[in-house]
C-alpha cells in the first residue's frame, strides 16, 4: 500500500511540475518561429488552436506569422494564398475574442501587406480600412502601446509620402514607449512585444528632427 501511495504521489507531482501540453506546444512553436521555421511554427499554432478552442492566442500567432512572412513576396498568387489563410486564422481568433485590439491591428497589418505589394491596386480601398481599424482600436484601448505604435507608424508613412514632417508623430512614439514600460505583463504568451520597434523609431526620430 505504501509503495502504491508512493507511486501515486510521484505521478501526481510529475504532472504538476511538468509543463501542460499548452505550454509545451506554445514554447515549441515560439522556438520554431525564432529559428525562422515559419511554416512549422504556423502548423504547430494551427494544431494548438484546434485543441484550445477558447483561446485566441494560437490562431492569432498562426495568422501573424503568415502575414509577417508574406512581406517582400513577388508572387501574387502565393501572397494572396498566404494572406487568405492568415485572414482565416484571424477570423477564428476574433470569433473567440471579440473587439480585441491586438487582433484588430493584425488585420491592419494584413492590409498593409497587400498595399506594400501593389499600392495602386489595393491602396485605395485598404488604406481607408486601416485608418478605420486604428480609430476603432484606439477607442477601445486608448492605452494599448501597440495600437498607438501601429497607428503612429501608419501616419508617419503617410506624412513621409507627402513630404511632411514626421516630428509631431515622434511625441506619440515617446508616449508609446512610456505605455510599453508601464504595461503589466500578466497573461502568458500575450503579444506584449513592440518596445524594441518603438525605441528604434524613436532613435530615428531623434536623428531626423535634431538640428545638426
Amino acid at each position: 500500500m505504501k509503495s502504491v501511495l508512493l507511486i501515486a504521489t510521484f505521478i501526481f507531482t510529475l504532472s504538476i511540475s511538468a509543463q501542460t501540453p499548452y505550454e509545451k506546444g506554445m514554447n515549441d512553436a515560439f522556438a520554431l518561429w525564432e529559428q525562422q521555421k515559419n511554416t512549422e511554427a504556423v502548423q504547430l499554432f494551427e494544431r494548438i488552436a484546434s485543441a484550445e478552442t477558447d483561446n485566441w492566442l494560437p490562431a492569432y500567432y498562426a495568422g501573424l506569422i503568415e502575414i509577417v512572412s508574406s512581406f517582400g513576396l513577388k508572387d501574387e498568387a502565393l501572397l494572396t494564398s498566404k494572406l487568405t489563410r492568415a485572414k482565416g486564422f484571424l477570423d477564428n481568433a476574433s470569433a473567440i475574442s471579440k473587439d480585441n485590439p491586438e487582433i484588430m491591428i493584425s488585420y491592419a497589418l494584413l492590409n498593409t501587406a497587400y498595399i506594400a505589394f501593389d499600392g495602386a491596386k489595393y491602396g485605395m480601398t485598404l488604406s481607408g480600412e486601416n485608418i478605420a481599424i486604428y480609430q476603432k482600436a484606439q477607442a477601445i484601448a486608448p492605452n494599448n502601446p501597440r495600437v498607438l505604435l501601429g497607428k503612429t507608424e501608419w501616419d508617419m508613412g503617410t506624412a513621409k509620402f507627402f513630404g511632411k514632417s514626421i516630428a509631431p508623430y515622434c511625441e506619440d512614439i515617446e508616449r508609446a514607449i512610456i505605455l510599453f514600460n508601464e504595461e503589466e505583463q500578466t497573461i502568458p504568451y500575450y503579444p506584449y512585444s513592440g518596445l524594441e520597434r518603438a525605441n528604434e523609431i524613436s532613435s530615428n526620430c531623434k536623428k531626423e528632427t535634431s538640428p545638426n
Binding site: R47, T53, T80, T84, R85, A120, M124, A132
Partner: protein
C-alpha cells in the same frame, strides 16, 4: 487488496500512456506527394508535417473516434472522422483549392476592374485617373479593346454593336437611362459617379445567363457596401461645383452628393462652333443609404435625381440659319437591393429599380415630349454546394411604359407603348479541377408586347494550359427587343438576336497581363424600314442581318518601368450589317476597322504628382458620298487624340487636378453632311462635322474634410 490496487493502477497508467501510431501519405489529385502538409488530430496536440515524400507518422494517446485533419496552402483542407485504428497507413488525397489566384477563371469576353477580381485590367484608381476620361467611368473603359471610338457620341460601342446594345447594371439591377442626354455631335456622359463603385465587370460578349436584353455587351457595377468614414467633400471646378457628405452609424450609413454644372463661363472663354442660347446647366443629387442587418443581410437604397437643360443652334447644310435644338430633361432613378446569406450555403439577392425620365425636346419647329417609366424587379438564389460547384437561378420582370407627344405647326400625334418582359435563368459553375472550369446557363424570356418566347443558351469553358496562361471559349445566344424608336410605331416585330463565338488566350505574370481574343458575332432578325427616318408611316420588318468579327489585344505592364504603369489596346473589327434603311449590306458609320489606345501613368515622388497621358487612334469611319453613288463606301480621315492630365497633392486633403483633351488640337472629323439638293454645278455640297471644340480644358480643386487627415478625393477625379 494490495495486488488488486497495483494492478488497477498499472492498468490505469497503461491506458493513460497507451499510444497508437497515425501514419500515411498526403498526395495531390495527380498522385504527387505533398511536402509540408500539416496533419493532426483535431482537438489534440498530436500532429506533424509531411516530409518530402509526403509521408507522415506521429503518436497519439487518444483513442476511439477522432477527426484527422490535413491542411496545406493552396489545397482544400481535408477532414475525416473515424476510429483511430483506421488512421494507420492512410492515403490522403488533397483537392486543389480552386479559389486561389492561380486557378483557372472563366473569363472569355470579360474584363474586370477593381480589387475584387483575380486579374484586373483596370485598377480602381484607373477609372478616374485616365487622361481624357474626365471622371466618366465610360471614358476609362473606352481604352479597353473591343470598344470603338465614336467621339461625338460618348457611349459604349462594343464589337460592331451600336450603343443601345450595351446594358448597364448596378448591384444586379438595370440602369434604364445611364447617360445624360446631349445634343447632336456632343458626347453624352454617364450619369453615375464613378466613386460609388468598388468593382466593375465589363463584358464584351459571351456573358452570363443572368443578363439579357443586350445584344453586345453588359457593364456590371457593384456599389460600395460600407463607406470607411464620415467626411465632407468640396469640389470647385471650371465647369461647376460639388458638395458631398457621408455619415456613419452603427449599422447604417448615408452618403449624399450634389453637383451643379454650368458651362456658360467656360463657353464665354472658349467659344466652340455651336451657337449656344442656353449653355448646358445641370443640377443633380444622389444619395445612398446602406443598412446592415444582424444576420449579414445588407440593404442598399440608391436614389439619384438630375435635371439638365440647354438650348443651341447647330450648323446644318440644308438650313442657312442652322437648326435649333433645345432640351429639358429630368431623371429620377431609384435602385434598391438586398442580399443575404441563408442557411445551408444558400444566398439570396433581390431588388427593384425604377426610373422616371422626362425630356422636352425642341427640334427646329417641333416640340417633342418623351416620358419613360421603367421598372426592374429581380430575385436570384445561389446555392454553394462546394467551392467546385455552384448553382445560380432566378427570375426578373422588366416593365417599360413610354409615351411621346409630337407637335409641330401642322401635325400632332401621341404614341404610347408598354414593353414588359418576364424572364428567368439558371446557371451553374463547375470546377472540374484547378485547371478546367465551365459555366453553363440558359435564359428564357417572354415579351408581352411581341408575344414571343425566346431561349438563350450560354456556355463558357476555361482551361489553364500552364502556370501563367489559360485558354477560354464562349458561346451564347442573345436577344433584345427592338428599340422604343420602332416599337412606338409598330409592335409587329420579333426580338433582334446575335450569336457570339469567342476564343480567348490570357497570359498573366507578375503584374503583367497579355490577352488576345478572337470573336465572331452573327446578327439576325434586325429591324428594317423603308423610309429615310423611322416614321409612323414606314413599313417595318425583321429581315435585317449582319456580322462582326475581329481580334482584340490587350497588354498591361505595371512592373518594367519604376513608378510607371501603362497599358495598350488594339482592336481589329470587320463588320457589316443590313438593317434600318440600308439598301445593302455595309459597314455602319459607327464602326472603325482599327482602334488603338495607349495609356501611361507615372507617379513623380518629388512633385507629389501623378502625370498621365493617353493616346487614342481610330481608323476612319464610313460615310456615303452622293456625288459618287454607293452606300457607306467612303472612308473619313482617322481619329487621333492625345490627352494629358496632372494631379497635384497639395496636402493629403487638397488636390489640384488639371486635364486637357486633345492637347495637340488635332483636327478630327466626325463625319460629313451632304446637301439634299445639288448645287448649280450638279454637285452635292458637303459640310465637315467636326467636334464642337478641338480641345477641352478642365481644372478642379478638391478638398476633403474628415477626422482623418489622410483621406482625399483622388478617387473622385
Amino acid at each position: 487488496m494490495k495486488t488488486l490496487l497495483f494492478l488497477l493502477l498499472t492498468l490505469f497508467c497503461y491506458s493513460l500512456f497507451a499510444q497508437s501510431t497515425i501514419s500515411g501519405k498526403v498526395i495531390d489529385q495527380q498522385g504527387t506527394p505533398i511536402m509540408g502538409a500539416n496533419v493532426y488530430l483535431s482537438g489534440t496536440y498530436d500532429g506533424t508535417a509531411t516530409n518530402e515524400n509526403g509521408l507522415f507518422t506521429f503518436e497519439t494517446t487518444t483513442t476511439g473516434t477522432q477527426t484527422l485533419i490535413a491542411s496545406s496552402i493552396s489545397f482544400e483542407t481535408y477532414s475525416n472522422t473515424d476510429d483511430i485504428a483506421n488512421f494507420s497507413s492512410i492515403t490522403i488525397k488533397l483537392k486543389d483549392d480552386v479559389n486561389t489566384l492561380d486557378a483557372v477563371t472563366v473569363n472569355a469576353g470579360t474584363f474586370n476592374a477593381g480589387d475584387n477580381a483575380k486579374v484586373t485590367a483596370l485598377k480602381p484608381l484607373d477609372i478616374v485617373t485616365t487622361a481624357g476620361a474626365l471622371g466618366d467611368f465610360v471614358g476609362a473603359l473606352q481604352t479597353l479593346p473591343g470598344t470603338s471610338n465614336v467621339a461625338e457620341d460618348g457611349r459604349l460601342f462594343v464589337r460592331g454593336g451600336d450603343a443601345e446594345e450595351t446594358q448597364i447594371f448596378v448591384d444586379g439591377m438595370r440602369v434604364f437611362t445611364p447617360y445624360s442626354p446631349s445634343a447632336n455631335n456632343i458626347p453624352a456622359r454617364g450619369r453615375l459617379s464613378p466613386f460609388l463603385f468598388k468593382g466593375i465587370t465589363f463584358s464584351t460578349g459571351g456573358y452570363s445567363a443572368e443578363y439579357g436584353q443586350a445584344l453586345s455587351s453588359v457593364l456590371l457595377l457593384n456599389s460600395i457596401n460600407e463607406p470607411q468614414e464620415e467626411k465632407t467633400e468640396i469640389s470647385i471646378m471650371t465647369v461647376g461645383f460639388g458638395l458631398g457628405n457621408t455619415k456613419k452609424w452603427k449599422k447604417s450609413s448615408l452618403s449624399i452628393n450634389t453637383s451643379y454644372i454650368n458651362l456658360a463661363p467656360y463657353q464665354k472663354l472658349y467659344p466652340d462652333n455651336n451657337e449656344w442660347h442656353k449653355p448646358i446647366e445641370s443640377v443633380g443629387g444622389e444619395a445612398v443609404y446602406r443598412y446592415k442587418f444582424n444576420n449579414d443581410g445588407l440593404l442598399k437604397v440608391y436614389g439619384a435625381y438630375s435635371s439638365a437643360n440647354f438650348d443651341l443652334t447647330q450648323e446644318d447644310i440644308n438650313e442657312v440659319d442652322g437648326i435649333r435644338f433645345g432640351l429639358k430633361n429630368r431623371n429620377l432613378y431609384i435602385n434598391t437591393s438586398y442580399q443575404d446569406f441563408l442557411e445551408k450555403d444558400w444566398s439570396i439577392a433581390t431588388g427593384v429599380s425604377f426610373a422616371n425620365d422626362r425630356s422636352e425636346i425642341k427640334y427646329s419647329d417641333a416640340d417633342i415630349t418623351d416620358v419613360e417609366n421603367s421598372a426592374h424587379l429581380k430575385i436570384a438564389f445561389k446555392k454553394f454546394f462546394s467551392s467546385r460547384y455552384k448553382l445560380n437561378f432566378g427570375a426578373e420582370y422588366f416593365a417599360t411604359n413610354f409615351t411621346e407627344n409630337y407637335l409641330d405647326t401642322n401635325f400632332e400625334n401621341d404614341f404610347e407603348l408598354d414593353n414588359n418582359i418576364l424572364s428567368s435563368f439558371i446557371e451553374t459553375d463547375v470546377f472540374f479541377s484547378k485547371k478546367f472550369a465551365t459555366k453553363i446557363g440558359i435564359r428564357g424570356e417572354y415579351s408581352e408586347l411581341l408575344q414571343e418566347f425566346t431561349i438563350s443558351p450560354r456556355l463558357s469553358l476555361a482551361y489553364k494550359a500552364g502556370t501563367n496562361s489559360q485558354f477560354s471559349l464562349a458561346y451564347g445566344e442573345f436577344f433584345q427587343n427592338p428599340k422604343n424608336d420602332y416599337l412606338k410605331y409598330s409592335s409587329d416585330f420579333i426580338a433582334e438576336n446575335t450569336t457570339h463565338y469567342i476564343a480567348n488566350y490570357q497570359y498573366v505574370k507578375n503584374k503583367q497581363i497579355f490577352r488576345a481574343e478572337a470573336y465572331y458575332k452573327n446578327y439576325g432578325d434586325l429591324v428594317k424600314y423603308d423610309t429615310p427616318f423611322a416614321l409612323p408611316t414606314s413599313t417595318y420588318n425583321n429581315e435585317g442581318s449582319g456580322y462582326a468579327k475581329g481580334l482584340d489585344i490587350f497588354w498591361r505592364d505595371n512592373k518594367s518601368i519604376k513608378n510607371t504603369e501603362y497599358w495598350m489596346s488594339y482592336s481589329y473589327l470587320d463588320t457589316e450589317r443590313d438593317y434600318q434603311n440600308y439598301p445593302t449590306s455595309a459597314t455602319p458609320d459607327f464602326a472603325s476597322k482599327h482602334n488603338a489606345s495607349l495609356v501611361v501613368k507615372r507617379w513623380v515622388e518629388d512633385w507629389k504628382s501623378q502625370v498621365g497621358f493617353s493616346y487614342n487612334y481610330a481608323s476612319g469611319r464610313t460615310y456615303t458620298d452622293p456625288n459618287k453613288g454607293g452606300f457607306l463606301t467612303e472612308q473619313a480621315k482617322s481619329f487621333n487624340s492625345l490627352n494629358v492630365n496632372y494631379a497635384y497633392l497639395i496636402s493629403p486633403q487638397k488636390i489640384l487636378y488639371l486635364s486637357v483633351s486633345n492637347v495637340l488640337g488635332t483636327k478630327n472629323v466626325n463625319g460629313y453632311q451632304y446637301a439634299d439638293q445639288t448645287n448649280m454645278d450638279g454637285i452635292f455640297d458637303r459640310r465637315t462635322i467636326t467636334p464642337a471644340a478641338d480641345r477641352f480644358f478642365f481644372i478642379g480643386f478638391f478638398w476633403t474634410i474628415s477626422d482623418n487627415k489622410n483621406d482625399n478625393q483622388l478617387d473622385n477625379l
